[in-house]
């Protein structure tokens, strides 16, 4: 059994230690908001926050997450109040198909933790997730909207 702390709740999971965290979150714990996109940490659809840092969970072995605070998209809102990034995503009508947006939102939330008002250059360097629908202009707009609050 492996003990995980996900969104403030403890879970004991019976999986091989090399299992990527992504599949433990989705298939074992049942948190399907975190998405599978590529399996090689290239697209960011599976991004979660581990101890404050954005991590691409499709290549992150579950054994490395033991003892860490893991936050998924389902745990980003606090006391039923959306995280400012989530609210900005609604205000700016960012998502289209929406599939990449859980990972995008998690990556942005982590970026804003370290850079509360990021420059365009910091956004370019920090947000490398793929969005196939092409929502990038709105992603940038929404990041700036949060940053300026």
């Amino acid at each position: 059994m492996i003990a995980l702390m996900v969104n403030g709740r403890e879970h004991a999971v019976d999986v091989e230690p090399d299992t990527p965290l992504l599949w433990v979150l989705r298939d074992t714990i049942g948190l399907t908001g975190t998405k599978f996109g590529c399996g090689i940490a290239a697209c960011g659809a599976c991004t979660v926050i581990i101890n404050g840092r954005a991590v691409r969970s499709c290549t992150f072995p579950v054994s490395s997450a033991v003892g860490a605070a893991i936050t998924t998209i389902e745990g980003l809102a606090k006391d039923n109040v959306l995280h400012p990034v989530q609210q900005a995503w609604i205000d700016q009508q960012v998502p289209q198909c929406g599939y990449c947006q859980s990972g995008m939102i998690m990556a942005v939330a982590a970026l804003l933790d370290g850079h509360p008002s990021p420059t365009d250059e910091e956004i370019d360097a920090g947000i490398t997730n793929i969005c196939r629908c092409g929502t990038f202009a709105r992603v940038r707009r929404a990041i700036h909207a949060v940053g300026h609050k």
């Binding site: 599949w23 399907t32 996109g37 809102a77 989530q86 009508q93 289209q96």
Partner: protein
């Protein structure tokens, strides 16, 4: 759906082919249904299983629920369709809900097209079918979301008329209650108001009375200048669930006892599984079964990760179906040969310009890899997936299992991107998932394709090649443009709006075994690049400004000209730019929408390209949801830009070379330009919005690169070109 008691006797024929019916919902609500030829009036009778072709229900709480026969893949069509119905019924938008129609024949788009094609409606809506609608009509019987058809087909011919009919019945009920004439009443914010006295009643209060009234045969649509919902920006109804992880996509479905499948597929198209030693996988933890399919091997396990790991332990052998020597080079060599000599030009031409253009295969690469869950029990099956055509998803599963379609229950879930990959005929992943499920029946199994499966087993945007010749007279006016193309094309995609005395585009072709299919904008992304690049070359040969050159040829095409003028105005065309920066223009019509784009690029001395801005002027007739229409334009530009700059699928030894996002590239946030979008309200028939902003992008960018550097990019992607010289 609540049980329904309807009174088919009240159903009136609108035309010989369509009718509308109304009835009461248990609990006092009102249901208004529209049906077509395949539903006899008696089929409108109450059924507890809810198989009524319902469009709109109004319940006693005044909630208006609109059933949408199109899936939502991010294009905002469900919200736009609901806006069209809500506008006509006079609803308070805050009290409108949408539901996606289940995969039943009753919701097939066919009926939408047939039902309303010849209903008299005011103004521009009577103009009938355009090419895209015709294409949908060809898919009769399919519940398709594609061809940018939702708003202009279902919306114009279905939603608006159904909403108007419901409004007239609610007004009729109110007029009786108030003892006044219906003409003295109006619908506003989900109430019917008697203008003179100010008396009013809510939709909910009137719903059951309304249901007892005769159904109007020709409901009058609102005049567009009185719109309060259409032409505004309404938040999309699907977005809140997409920011908190609660939205359920095809890949997210789960059920007790569900197993997982991972697959390896014959790498060469048409290839078959020759042999596989299943032992290495079978001894691995959690593995339930190794399933041999004709063209693949599947490992079924109690978790997806275990299935993947066990699959990696196998060394299946596949044959190459005789295609082992096919490569990108052999395909383009065959294209080249099939095109023959450049088209003949008039003898008296002062100047002749010739050019060849090429574009590669492209994968759709939807962010959600192909996946589905299937449970087979005896001669019945259930399927959960997200596709652009649920009815075809159902038919595909039935065929794979050799059972009747009626025995397949299909549940459509959200799509993590479509772009054409999940259209009818392309549901290979459902076919595969169903066969795996049959092998392990009765356990339900979720098959998930790896990204490698997805990139290597797509129905690719066809690679294509075109050979152009054009002639200018002594004044620099074009007198002929002729082209031959290979890799697919049609009248719409090769259409040149410009007034040129001699124009033609003819197909040469050369078959190849690579699977191809519609890719956002279908044939228009290839031909948009070809024709708008060549027109640009002609302009330069004529020593004319590319904008002026085009504009002078559009005096008979006011909509094209207006779009061109608007894009140029937005871009500040003609103002001076720094060294190695340039603007390029392109103009395309597709799916009934005309789009002009100006790309502004900068090319560093080292050859690094930066697309700074793509200005986008769009004439889609009129806009329903202004914000989601702009989002489609922005997304279309990015999709087209990925293709123009970096997208490329190549073939070697019959196999797709690229495997994942590391070698099949697309642009990221850092590369994404600013995309100002402006709409032109021409009041032409509604055009599509999902696709038409893709086709001009590549030509606009290539033309801008030429303006910046003098380098003419005639084959894509741009990344293959050295832009550092010149």
């Amino acid at each position: 759906m609540p049980s329904v008691t309807s009174r088919p006797g009240r159903a009136r024929k609108w035309t010989r082919r369509a009718f509308i019916g109304a009835g009461t919902v248990a609990g006092g609500g009102f249901v208004l249904g529209v049906a077509g030829l395949a539903l006899a009036p008696n089929r409108l009778e109450a059924k507890n299983d809810g198989q009524l072709n319902t469009w709109i229900t109004v319940t006693p709480d005044s909630l208006v629920t609109i059933l949408i026969p199109h899936c939502e893949m991010g294009q905002g069509a469900q919200t736009a369709l609901a806006m069209m119905a809500a506008e006509e019924i006079g609803a308070d938008w805050a009290h409108v809900r949408i539901r996606e129609a289940p995969a039943l024949d009753a919701y097939a788009n066919e009926y939408v097209i047939r039902a309303f094609a010849d209903v008299p409606v005011p103004g521009s809506m009577t103009r009938g079918f355009d090419y895209g609608t015709y294409r949908i009509a060809r898919w009769f019987g399919l519940q398709v979301t594609g061809g940018s058809s939702a708003v202009r087909g279902t919306g114009v011919y279905g939603m608006a008329v159904a909403g108007a009919a419901a409004r007239e019945m609610l007004i009729g009920a109110a007029a009786r209650r108030f003892g006044v004439s219906p003409s003295e009443c109006e619908a506003r914010d989900s109430r019917i108001v008697h203008r003179a006295s100010g008396r009013s009643a809510t939709f909910g209060e009137l719903a059951s009375d309304a249901a007892r009234l005769p159904v109007p045969t020709r409901p009058a649509l609102k005049q567009s200048d009185s719109y309060t919902i259409r032409r505004t920006a309404r938040p999309r109804l699907d977005i809140p669930s997409k920011v908190d992880g609660s939205a359920v996509y095809g890949i997210d479905f789960t059920m007790p006892g569900m197993l997982y499948a991972a697959v390896e597929i014959a790498p060469v198209p048409g290839g078959k599984l020759v042999s596989v030693d299943t032992a290495p996988a079978q001894s691995m933890p959690g593995v339930k079964r190794v399933v041999r399919l004709t063209e693949a091997v599947a490992v079924v396990a109690d978790s997806y990760w275990r299935a993947r790991k066990a699959l990696a332990a196998l060394k299946p052998e596949f044959d190459d179906a005789g295609h082992g020597d096919v490569s990108t080079a052999t395909i383009f060599n065959a294209f080249d040969k099939s095109l023959g000599a450049a088209p003949d030009m008039p003898a008296g031409a002062a100047r002749v310009v010739k050019a060849d253009y090429r574009v590669p295969f492209l994968a759709h690469a939807t962010m959600e890899p192909m996946s589905c869950t299937v449970r087979v029990e005896g001669d019945r099956a259930e399927v959960w997936a997200g596709v652009q055509d649920p009815l075809n998803g159902r038919a595909t599963a039935a065929k794979a299992l050799g059972i009747r379609q009626a025995n397949v229950q299909y549940h459509n879930l959200l799509l993590g991107g479509g772009f054409g990959r999940k259209l009818p005929g392309l549901h290979d992943f459902i076919d595969m998932g169903a066969r795996i499920a049959k092998a392990i029946s009765p356990a339900p199994v979720k098959m998930i394709w790896s990204r490698e499966n997805d990139i290597q087993h797509d129905y690719y945007r066809p690679a294509a090649m075109a050979r152009f010749a054009g002639a200018l007279d002594a004044t620099g006016a074009p007198i002929a443009v002729r082209s031959r193309y290979a890799g697919g094309g049609d009248g719409e995609s090769t259409f040149l709006a410009y007034a040129i005395p001699a124009k033609s585009a003819t197909s040469g072709d050369a078959a190849h075994p690579i699977r191809t299919g519609p890719w956002r904008s279908v044939l228009n992304s290839q031909h948009g690049f070809f024709k708008e690049s060549f027109v640009d070359e002609l302009a330069h040969a004529a020593k004319k400004d590319p904008y002026r050159f085009r504009r002078d040829l559009l005096s008979d095409q006011p909509r094209f000209r207006a779009a061109l003028d608007k894009a140029v105005e937005m871009a500040g065309w003609g103002s001076s730019l720094p060294e190695r920066e340039g603007r390029g223009i392109a103009l395309c019509e597709s799916f009934g929408t005309i789009v002009a784009q100006v790309a502004h690029v900068a090319v560093s001395p080292e050859g690094r390209l930066h697309v700074k801005t793509v200005y986008c002027a769009v004439d889609c007739g009129d806009v329903v949801n202004t914000d989601s229409a702009a989002a489609q334009a922005e997304g279309g530009v990015v999709f087209g830009l990925s293709a123009a700059l970096v997208g490329e699928i190549t073939i070697d030894h019959g196999r797709v070379v690229q495997r994942n996002f590391r070698d099949y590239q697309m642009i990221r946030l850092a590369d994404a330009p600013e995309i100002p979008v402006e709409f032109i309200r021409s009041d032409a028939r509604l055009g599509g919005m999902g696709e038409p902003c893709v086709p001009p992008v590549a030509a606009a960018v290539a033309n801008a690169i030429f303006a910046a550097t003098g380098i003419r990019v005639r084959d894509l992607p741009v990344k293959n070109h050295d832009l550092s010289r010149a």
